[in-house]
């Protein structure tokens, strides 16, 4: 279908006055200090995310308003701001009674159940740093991250503990306590663990927030690079200033909104925008505990009267695949703004929103390291489908080119490809990678934070994603480090070498594809392929393991011995192989 390159917005597209109405004027007048002044704060210049998100509402007019509505398998449970305050106080007391202190790390491994949200916010109250893990991780990614983060506490479910953690518990000496959530509310009785519900019942629901400042750590989010172990991006309590401002400008949250962020809190979107930003704005958030299902999702949008919806390209493409008939069984009169993040949203998906939901989808861009939305399409402005939008107030973005002396300089010519960079200093910027100062330093060149994404900026100031500057794989919006996958494959006795790439896929962006060569005495066959697939899945989990494995006699390497993933990818896609001058043997 022939569609215009721009979706023009008119006043008729806006059901509420937009928070960002005059782009240039708001940017010009913007200051982070003014945003910080809008936060409640605590005496003595202290700041705590739990105070901003929960406590200040719990003592005010929002006390009896639902903060969350959990849609479980069998029932629906509302938790009000007042109740959330008491529950998170209890959890903070549980941590205190276990001797878990400020700055220690708590890991979380669970689905989207109420206990997860109480754990995150209760930990903030105790000054404990939270590191969420994705529940589809296998034992190996879980162990790697808990070890790197020196986790003192793990909160998980009985089921996940037995399936994924029990067998690696011995490798985790820093882990002093494991707190379990039983199935369907039943108390747990697993050796070496404690039952969370029992501890919660014994704890007081009064707690004084441990003194934290804006620069104290709040969250540790692991992300993947091309080489080596995952990186633990450290975030601080002061990041709430960004969450407040972006909730206002990028998501256009208004007090009366019913908001649904479909992201799992195992990833940064699910914490920044599934927990923190909506609570800051005092809205009611829908949390669906179930996995994706097209019919269910349309029903939720309809029945829960969702007004602002933040989702991901993979989910949108799965809805598109399910067909418009299912969508038409429902209506969405309450829905007024739809946003998406994770990977570039293809123009067809932007238009699909307009045609099926009655609203175009607004893509935005950010990453684990930025802590919050940086570049966005917002309600009042025209959309160029396929573009990530324009930098938000308080954010300066540029396309930069590296100079010969290692410095970078912004490229002013429109439509020039280069690395996307952000002027450092926004409140939710990472403060470091845990125990890895060198990698952190490499993210910066002078005043610029280098994102690792290649992009272009057009003459109207809209940014367009081009690709990754490295070999990191982006699948269903999540970064997967090829090295972590290759290492797991190499642990199999038949594997001599492994190279892992992202293979383009219509649904999820890229799927993980592995190439392996075998040791002498092993023969490539379907049974071995299945064995390797099972091996990788058991170690890595469904979210990280390859979906495809191919055998090769040998893998292309550089003369210095590095596997040339770029070449594997070019061959897989039938593309020109590019510069192969560093290829070993020149083959």
């Amino acid at each position: 279908m022939d569609r215009p390159a721009i979706i023009r917005k008119t006043a008729a597209d806006l059901r509420l006055p937009p928070n960002l109405a005059d782009y240039a004027a708001t940017r010009a007048a913007f200051s982070w200090d003014a945003v910080r002044a809008e936060l409640a704060g605590l005496p003595g210049g202290r700041l705590n995310i739990a105070h901003e998100t929960v406590e200040r509402h719990a003592v005010g007019p929002l006390r009896d308003k639902a903060a969350f509505r959990f849609l479980g398998a069998h029932d629906t449970r509302d938790i009000t701001y007042g109740e959330l305050s008491r529950l998170t106080n209890r959890f903070a007391n549980v941590l205190k009674s276990l001797g878990v202190g400020k700055g220690e790390r708590l890991f979380l491994l669970s689905g989207r159940i109420p206990e997860l949200y109480v754990t995150v916010l209760g930990s903030f109250k105790n000054g404990t740093v939270v590191s969420p893990l994705f529940s589809a991780f296998g034992p190996e990614p879980i162990a790697t991250r808990i070890k790197l983060g020196e986790g003192a506490v793990l909160v998980t479910t009985e089921l996940l503990y037995e399936r994924k953690v029990a067998k690696i518990r011995g490798e985790l000496p820093t882990l002093r306590h494991v707190l379990l959530v039983g199935e369907e509310g039943r108390a747990t009785n697993v050796p070496g663990t404690l039952d969370l519900a029992t501890l919660m019942a014994q704890a007081s629901d009064e707690f004084d927030i441990v003194p934290t400042g804006p620069e104290d750590l709040s969250l540790l989010h692991f992300t993947s690079g091309t080489t080596g172990t995952p990186k633990g991006a450290m975030h601080v309590h002061g990041a709430v200033a960004t969450h407040w401002a972006t909730g206002k400008y990028a998501l256009d949250l208004h007090a009366e909104d019913i908001y649904w962020c479909t992201a799992d809190p195992g990833w940064v979107t699910g914490t920044s925008y599934g927990i923190i930003a909506p609570l800051l704005h005092g809205v009611t958030s829908i949390v669906d505990e179930a996995d994706f299902d097209a019919e269910r999702w349309y029903r939720i949008l309809d029945e829960q009267k969702v007004s602002v919806w933040y989702t991901a390209p993979t989910a949108i493409r799965m809805l598109m695949k399910a067909g418009a008939e299912i969508a038409k069984k429902h209506s969405y009169p309450a829905l007024r703004f739809v946003a998406s993040v994770g990977e570039p949203l293809n123009p067809e998906a932007v238009w699909w929103g307009k045609e099926v939901l009655g609203l175009p989808i607004h893509d935005n861009w950010w990453q684990t390291e930025t802590g919050g939305i940086m570049i966005a399409n917002t309600p009042a402005f025209d959309i160029k489908p396929g573009s990530m939008g324009r930098p938000l107030p308080g954010i300066e973005a540029a396309i930069v080119k590296k100079e010969s002396d290692g410095k970078v300089s912004p490229v002013d010519t429109a439509d020039t490809e280069g690395e996307l960079a952000l002027k450092r200093g926004w409140p939710s910027m990472l403060r470091g990678y845990l125990h890895n100062e060198e990698r952190y330093r490499k993210c910066f060149a002078g005043e610029w934070y280098l994102t690792g994404d290649l992009a272009k900026r057009d003459a109207d100031g809209y940014f367009w994603f081009v690709g990754r500057a490295d070999d990191v794989i982006k699948s269903a919006g999540h970064l997967i480090g090829p090295f972590e996958v290759e290492s797991a494959l190499m642990e199999h006795p038949a594997v001599a070498e492994a190279g892992v790439i992202g293979k383009p896929d219509e649904m999820v962006g890229e799927v993980v594809k592995a190439f392996v060569s075998l040791k002498k005495g092993f023969e490539a066959c379907e049974a071995l392929r299945m064995e390797l697939l099972g091996h990788a899945r058991k170690k890595l989990g469904a979210a990280v393991a390859p979906k495809e494995i191919d055998f090769l006699p040998s893998l292309p390497r550089t003369r210095s011995g590095k596997i040339m993933r770029r070449l594997l990818k070019a061959r897989e896609l039938g593309l020109p192989e590019g510069d192969t001058s560093t290829l070993e043997g020149g083959a």
């Binding site: 097209a294 695949k321 697939l533």
Partner: protein
Amino acid sequence: MEEQELRAVVIATLKTIAPEVEDGDLRADRPLRNQVDLDSMDWLNFLIGLHEKLKVEIPEADYAKLVTLGDVLDYLQKKLK
């Protein structure tokens, strides 16, 4: 198709996506995705695989009914009759 035979086909299909599955460990009355690590793409491929092997139409609107192994077996049994 006999119940045992159908179960074998379903498990074999599941194993093409998740070869690590051990038949004996699966409980038919519990959500399958609580017992086997299947992301959305795996789940979709599993249902597509069943459709291809058994020549049974599984419309998207029915996906929500298929939660446990028992659900899947009952659903397919009815469709095959």
